[in-house]
């Protein structure tokens, strides 16, 4: 819990503003004008922050609350986002069925461009070391005559953000302030406006500063929050202000993403609408590679590997990169390790572009291919190959008086199960429900008695999923043959053969 007195002494000031704001100016500011009051102020306009706002605006109980959102990016651009039908952003997330039903319940799912969204009904996961395999689908729960149930729905984050912005815009602009292109210059505790005003000494007061060229002319705005929500990512300023520590570590791995076009599948799926996601663990290369379906035979790549491998892959020319991706789903660990060290562009550029492809073609002939592999990737969309560091973080608490953390501000997990965004939106669903309960029972939405309902609902599930992903990461980073390799393939085989265990795991992972 944030000790109020300590936070007064050490207000959060963002690093770039620390220099500009003097103590004198701050004192002057707090005395002369009282801040504008809001019920909920959300810092961060990503899927979690916008999701919270959309949920609050959608419920008749909370739609009258005065809410604000502060986002450093241009939300107007995000709302006008548009791409060619066969172009896909490289920031793609998989939505579990419970996330989808939350988005439906707040009226945001209908605002998604459905032509850019791809459901999949089957997920093939196998161990590149031992070949043991598990297939995730709902066939053990449904009859063969039913339509196959969706395992997850792929959507570009930009599509989701645009849908949420549209949903918020539909709710009108009464009691709503969107501070776009704005950053949090500082957060401090308010003051007692005695005798003519209320005592705001325990209310966080955010100074909002516009970014860009307007900075000099526009005066920073001060807003006080009954509840300040940190949806502001891994380096959350709100969390720093609340003095909430985080535990965690860096995985020493990078995730490579790219938007790919795939060849026509050799055999048409049955039923025709069935789509499959593929994930292969590559213990020798530091993590799994996953290919998740997008519309029109496109797919998004997420490859977790060491920073050295990531740098190597990013440096490859496109044909070589594609060859590596295809090799990663087909070849043995030894072959892959060899190909990962092959000389590329530096020696002879004309030769090297073909060498990876040739190497793959030759080595595939001598490899026993698994039964289910994705169709070969044929093209990489220009400019979509990128990487990001993989980290694990968990905040010690999600709440403090008048403070709540959601999404990455509260927890960052390994992406191997594609759960990060789902956990963030589950936080938002829980927090918005908590706020509804508080409003309908006369509770103060920023009071700890309100917020503890949220944190007690979310802390354990998030820790459970985050821990499971961490365990999987560690188990599948043991190369070669050995007790752990043996145990994990036994485990995978057992789970695959015991429908009720698999069903239990899937329900846990997908928030049913």
């Amino acid at each position: 819990m944030r000790p109020i007195s300590r936070a007064v002494l050490r207000p959060y000031v963002c690093p770039t503003c620390r220099h500009g704001i003097t103590a004198g100016r701050r004192r002057f500011g707090s005395k002369s004008d009282s801040p504008e009051l809001f019920d909920v102020v959300c810092v961060g306009g990503g899927p979690a922050g916008l999701g919270l706002l959309a949920a609050l605006r959608a419920s008749p109980i909370t739609s009258k609350l005065k809410v604000a959102l502060i986002e450093s990016q241009d939300l107007r651009k995000a709302k006008a986002w548009d791409l060619e039908p066969n172009q896909f952003s490289n920031r793609v997330s998989s939505l579990t069925p419970s996330t989808v039903s939350f988005l439906r319940s707040i009226g945001a799912y209908d605002q998604l461009d459905v032509n850019r969204v791809q459901e999949y009904q089957d997920m093939q996961v196998w161990d590149g070391q031992t070949g043991s395999r598990i297939s995730f689908d709902w066939s053990m729960e449904t009859s063969p005559f039913e339509e196959m149930r969706t395992v997850a729905t792929m959507t570009e984050n930009a599509n989701l953000v645009r849908a949420l912005l549209r949903r918020i815009a539909d709710s009108g602009d009464e009691n709503l302030s969107l501070f776009t292109n704005s950053t949090v210059a500082s957060i401090e505790n308010g003051s007692d406006l005695k005798p003519e005003g209320p005592d705001l000494s325990a209310w966080p007061v955010v100074t909002v500063k516009p970014t860009g060229p307007a900075t000099e002319t526009e005066t920073p705005k001060r807003i006080a929050a009954r509840l300040l929500v940190g949806a502001d990512g891994i380096n959350s300023p709100v969390r720093s202000f609340a003095d909430i520590p985080t535990q965690g570590w860096d995985y020493g791995r990078h995730g490579i993403v790219a938007s790919l076009a795939l060849a026509e599948p050799a055999t048409q799926p049955f039923p025709a609408s069935k789509r499959t996601a593929y994930q292969r663990f590559l213990p020798a290369l530091g993590g799994p590679i996953a290919l998740l379906p997008l519309p029109n035979n496109h797919a998004t790549l997420v490859w977790s590997t060491t920073p050295e491998n990531a740098a190597y892959l990013k440096s490859l020319p496109t044909p070589a990169f594609l060859a590596m991706v295809n090799a990663a789903f087909r070849l043995d660990m030894t072959d892959l390790t060899y190909m990962m060290g092959m000389q590329s562009s530096s020696s002879s550029s004309s030769d090297s572009t073909h060498s990876h492809q040739d190497e793959l073609t030759w080595r595939v002939q001598h490899t026993q291919l698994p039964s289910q592999i994705p169709p070969p990737a044929t093209a990489v969309q220009t400019g979509t190959v990128a990487s990001f560091p993989l980290r694990f973080r968990h905040a010690a608490q999600y709440v403090s008086p008048r403070i709540a953390l959601v999404g990455d501000a509260a927890h960052v997990i390994h992406p191997l199960a594609g759960q990060g965004l789902n956990l963030g939106l589950a936080d938002v669903a829980s927090l918005s429900k908590t706020i509804q309960y508080a409003v309908s029972h006369g509770m103060d939405v920023g009071d700890l008695l309100t917020l503890e309902r949220y944190s007690s609902e979310r802390y354990l599930p998030n820790a459970k999923i985050g821990g499971a992903c961490d365990l999987l990461h560690k188990m599948y980073n043991v190369p070669g043959e050995g007790p752990i390799t043996w145990a994990r393939s036994l485990g995978l085989g057992v789970v695959d053969r015991l429908p009720f265990v698999k069903s239990f795991l899937m329900k846990n992972a997908e928030g049913y």
Binding site: L37, P198, A202, Y437, S440, G442, M443, D447, L449, E452
Partner: protein, 363 residues
Amino acid sequence: MASLRPRTLPLSVRALRSNLRSPRPSPNYLFSAPASTPSTQTHPTRAHSTSSVSADELSHFSGLASSWWDPMGPSRILHLMNPLRHEFIASCLAEGSPSPNPTSSAATLNYLDVGCGGGIFAESLARTIPLDPTSPAPTPTLAASMTAIDPSTDLIQMAREHARMDPTVDTHLRTGRFKYLNTTLEDVLAGNAGAPTSASTPTNSGSTSTQLTPPQYDIVTLFEVLEHIDPKTSTPLSFLTNCLRALKPGGWLIGSTISRTLPSFILNQVIAEAPWPIGVVPRGTHEWSKFVNPDEVKGWLQEGLMRAADTGVSRGGGAIAEGMRWKCVGAIYIPGIGWKMVPGSEDWGNYFWACTETLAKCT
């Protein structure tokens, strides 16, 4: 495992009770200042009524005042119960609303919270009063105003200070839609509730009749108060009768308390007050013998309704008692889950009760 009121709470209630010592109010206690605080304790006319408050309890009480609003403090279990009070009131109003237009969602109801203590319930209800009186009420409790009274100066002072921390509630305090009064129920009935309640206030030497100021409130609430009245020195009957006198016709008197049964003895005295980590309330919070059973409350209310009506209304008492609508539901605290309404669990311990007079045939 139920039950509430931290041990020092009885102090404020005892002060209240001390004002209800005899069934027939006498001017002596009716119109004098509230007792139980060090400042008024020395007043000669109050000496007799403060004698039951020991110095030990007073010092303990000061300690509680500061922790009253601490969500992790000794009053935590009371805070957790508060949302259920709103739900229970909403369920009463769903059965019969004293509002002139029962189907509208306009905020029209005036509340009186007797024995508000630090204001846990009063403040939460005040928060639901719309800032714009013409806009619809945000909750089914439909509050238009809240008057909260407690005879303890310290608790009222602390309640006011806490209310200032919420700008909405602070605004209601300034406009008068929300009032904390350091006064007694009898003063409210006599119509001088708004007057300053210092010891030097001249008392109204006139009659004790309530006819001068007609009943004003749509809802009178009495949460966790009854079980702290000592049946030996005070009567719940006269107290409840006065509560009924403050009601508008068709209004609800709503409260919560604890029943005096074997399960409640085990839950409240043995388990709830057990040492940490089993117990959830401080030892000595409750005296089991003071607990009241639902049928006792119901009996007092029937009697009280007849007495309250005995001020010139023409109809007979028996008809009034028959016209009483009685509502009662148990509540159980389950550690790790929280408070739950469990119909039929009234005898286990905590329960909510409510009554209203249905204005049927014989008016």
